[in-house]
């Protein structure tokens, strides 16, 4: 089974920079980034790579490689 999200590397999360503020979650139109408790969860199959999460991230923890 192929994990499309991982294969295409749609988003990079640098966990050292991410302090789980939720900005990306607020900006993601597709609920692909969800804060669960104190963790940021990425659900690749919901991601329609639009780049908005990376734009609003205050620390630069999120990048879209493409």
């Amino acid at each position: 089974m192929t994990d499309i999200g991982k294969e295409k590397k749609i988003i990079d999360i640098d966990r050292r920079l991410c302090i789980v503020c939720g900005a990306c979650s607020a900006a993601c139109p597709n609920e692909a980034l969800i804060i669960e408790g104190m963790n940021l969860e990425f659900i690749p199959e919901r991601c329609r790579p639009c780049g908005q999460a990376a734009i609003v991230c205050p620390t630069g923890a999120l990048t879209c490689p493409r």
Binding site: I19, C21, G22, A23, S25, A26, A27, C28, P29, N30, E31, I34, I35, E36, G37, M38, Q52, I55, V56, C57, P58, T59, G60
Partner: protein, 406 residues
């Protein structure tokens, strides 16, 4: 799946959620408050400014333990470096937001609400088209359970998903979010207890940088930027630059980052069996980003409608919509003016912003009762963009009618 029943289930244990919980619980309705973090109010994600004492004390007693510093004046620094200063004793306070939120949650619990931390709403329960509670998760065990309720309240803040589930809102566009970063810094002289705002593309494109006193020599030092106007730089990059210019000698204690909604109010705050409140409902001020008192006011208006709905045993959107009307006739309307003002001011090129601020400085009675008069603010700002007068007027009219109609 285990199932529980409450009259009201509230998603989010911030000011909006806790105040709503207190209102419904203290009237005898069984109320559950869900907070996904292990501890209410922690970690703080806020610049911690609130308005004057009389505003805050409608909701809780502002005792010494909650106050980090009074605010005794305002400093505004224009893009060209012109400094405007005004002494305004006790125009507001910088609070200890963690204690503040915890106190509100304690008041809710004291009124009979069940406050559950480390539990998160994962989805809404629906019956026909009506919202009938939530699927919740105990984050320590991973167990899912149902909470059936007569009214569900979305008070889940800026990253909130529940108003999307309820069909009231979509994700924010990047320009509707201010991307923010802040450090608590000591060894900075703020003995005058003034709050400072610094404007301009160099320090905070599309937003502002701030210094809010936390004590005699410590302050929340932060920046909020429009992420589409920042030339690829991050809020943290601008924060570094601002700290280097303003208080390079200070010691850093606590980095806070996050997003603040600077979006237009939601046309409707209600669905069948569901109500949105606080920043989840874009109720914070889109000019300043501040939202604590707005959230508490929103909670009271929401609670009025919820209590009426519960008493008449009709939790339909049609019954709950008095909340829409009351919101849009009060803070919602003011917020709409602030939204238009923000759209003008924060988009002005530096030189024009300098001139706009000089005009604001000359305007008499811009501030009364310790608050900016939004109409005056907008009027003066429109002098910078006279071509926008009709567009803004039409937009405001539509916004206010739109909100009232639904």
């Amino acid at each position: 799946m285990e199932s529980e029943k409450f009259d009201v289930v509230i998603i989010g244990g911030g000011p909006a959620g806790a105040r709503t919980a207190w209102r419904t619980a203290s009237r005898g309705y069984s109320t559950l408050l869900l907070e996904k973090r292990p501890r209410v109010g922690f970690p703080v994600r806020c610049a911690e400014a609130v308005g004057p004492r009389e505003d805050v004390e409608r909701y809780l007693s502002l005792d010494e333990s909650l106050i980090s510093s009074p605010v005794n004046g305002v400093v505004l620094v224009s893009p060209g470096g012109i400094r405007y200063e005004a002494e305004m004793p006790e125009i507001g306070f910088i609070v200890d937001r963690e204690l503040f939120d915890r106190r509100l949650a304690e008041i809710a619990a004291g009124g009979g609400a069940v406050v559950r931390t480390g539990h998160q709403a994962m989805g809404l329960l629906r019956e026909n088209s009506r919202i009938r509670g939530v699927v919740a998760k105990d984050l320590s065990s991973g167990a899912l359970y149902q909470v059936r309720s007569r009214v569900t309240v979305g008070a889940d803040g800026v990253e909130s998903i529940s108003p999307r589930w309820a069909g009231l809102k979509t994700g924010y566009r990047p320009e509707e979010l201010m991307s923010c970063a802040q450090e608590l810094i000591s060894g900075i002289d703020v003995s005058l207890r003034y709050i400072e705002f610094h404007l301009g593309t160099r320090c905070a494109p599309g937003g502002y940088a701030w210094v809010f006193p936390k004590g005699k020599n410590s302050a929340n030092v932060g920046v909020g930027i429009n992420p589409l106007r920042s030339g690829g730089l991050r809020a943290t990059d601008y924060l570094e630059r601002f700290i280097a210019a303003r208080c390079a000698e200070g010691r850093r204690h606590r980095l806070v980052v996050g997003a603040t909604a600077v979006a237009r109010g939601l046309p409707s705050l209600v669905a069948d069996g569901y109500v949105a409140v606080g920043e989840a409902a874009n109720q914070n001020n889109p000019f300043s980003g501040g939202g604590i008192i707005n959230a508490l006011e929103g909670a009271d208006l929401a609670a009025d409608a919820i209590l009426e709905a519960l008493e008449s045993n009709d939790q339909s959107a049609n019954r709950l919509k008095t909340y829409n009307k009351n919101w849009w006739n009060s803070v919602g309307r003011t917020n709409e003016i602030f939204y238009q003002a923000a759209r003008i001011l924060y988009r002005l090129p530096d030189g024009e912003m300098d001139r706009a601020l000089a005009r604001l400085k000359r305007e008499k009675n811009l501030i009364s009762n310790k608050a900016i008069k939004p109409w005056k603010l907008l009027k003066v700002l429109l002098l910078s963009r006279p071509a926008l007068v009709f567009q803004v007027a039409g937009s405001i009219g539509k916004g206010i009618l739109f909100g009232n109609r639904s």
